[in-house]
Amino acid sequence: MSQVCGGIFTSHVPGIGKAIAQNLQQDPYWKPFFDGFDPIHEWLAVEQPDVAVVFYNDHGLNFFLDKMPTFAIGAAPQYRHEDEGWGIAFDRPYEGHPDLSWHIIEQVVASEFDPVTCQSMAVDHAVAVPFELCWPGTNAFPTRLIPIAINTVQHPLPSPKRCHDLGKAVGRAIESWAGDEKVVIFGTGGLSHQLEGERAGHINVDYDKFCLRNLAHDPEALLQHDTLDIVELAGSQGVEILNWIAARGALRGSVRELASNYHVPISNTAAATVLLQNSEKVPA
């Protein structure tokens, strides 16, 4: 039986990808952010998860406004990062796990979700940057990918509760998979930031700290705000916290925070990285 061993939550700012491409990890501007990955590297070396299920949002690489799914689940044998308009494309391919993808699709549809299914899918910086951060270097990624895209671009967005419930359904699906794969869940994006409009540059440290304080032990506290409340609090791109909320839903066991790093600013963003361990609940 497969096991969800934990969750990795991280910002996915494109500038991080550029910093990686330019080898700036030790640069004083970037170091406080990259250092947040030391505990994650240690944890991944111990856990060695087989599969990463990644909740993220596409920024206009695979999806455009002609067809914009609220939820989309990848079921491809392989995924690639591609040029998103600024010439950077990471080379390493991401091996998929179509059998587990289809199991998740079967199970979440049985739970009355209606995702789009994608047998061919390019993944953008919201997947590529977290993978590069977690497994730096040039070796093939040791962990296979199942991407789950959430619309955070075109309103109406799914509600925080709906995202959390989707995460729970995905968690149940993984737990019911007959294989013995170890699975790590990712939620990418955030925290507070806003790129456009007269409020560009908006950052809300209080709201971010509220999210970081409650993510491990009381994630439902994050459901008290609706999506437009979150846009107002965290900024129009800060609403990417929906990916974190979904990912946290997939951790259904006993959850413990192993590491948390909050660093403002990276580019226009309040950046954060969190590592949660998920252990099976001990029956009473």
Partner: protein, 135 residues
Amino acid sequence: MTSLSRQTAEGKRAIPGTLVFDGDAAQHGYAINAMCYSFNSAENREAFEADEEAYMDRFALTPAQRQSVRDRDVLGMLAAGGNVYYLAKLAGIFGLNVQDLGALQTGVSIDEFKANLLSHAVTETRVASNGRMAA
């Protein structure tokens, strides 16, 4: 959090300094966003740079969208339905990063915009003492 809520004349939720990219904006902005989406391809970026007007013709931009592109007017592009995730690809062609965009939209210098971001500067790190207990 209803205490925060304000409404526009159309009865939509109003968020200060923020355009919510909804169905109305997505319809209104379709052409400029479609053009920007095409910039994922280096070949298309070069075609735009070679002849901006002809490239805008190809995507049938509205007059307001065209003028905002000619003027490098980011707030104008947003008002004409542009979405920042797509506009970021156009900004890249113009050599503008997100700090440049922020400064242009808020009417301050790049240095002031960066200083505003730094005014929130904080680093907080927690690591569990037995972080490797998973072993």
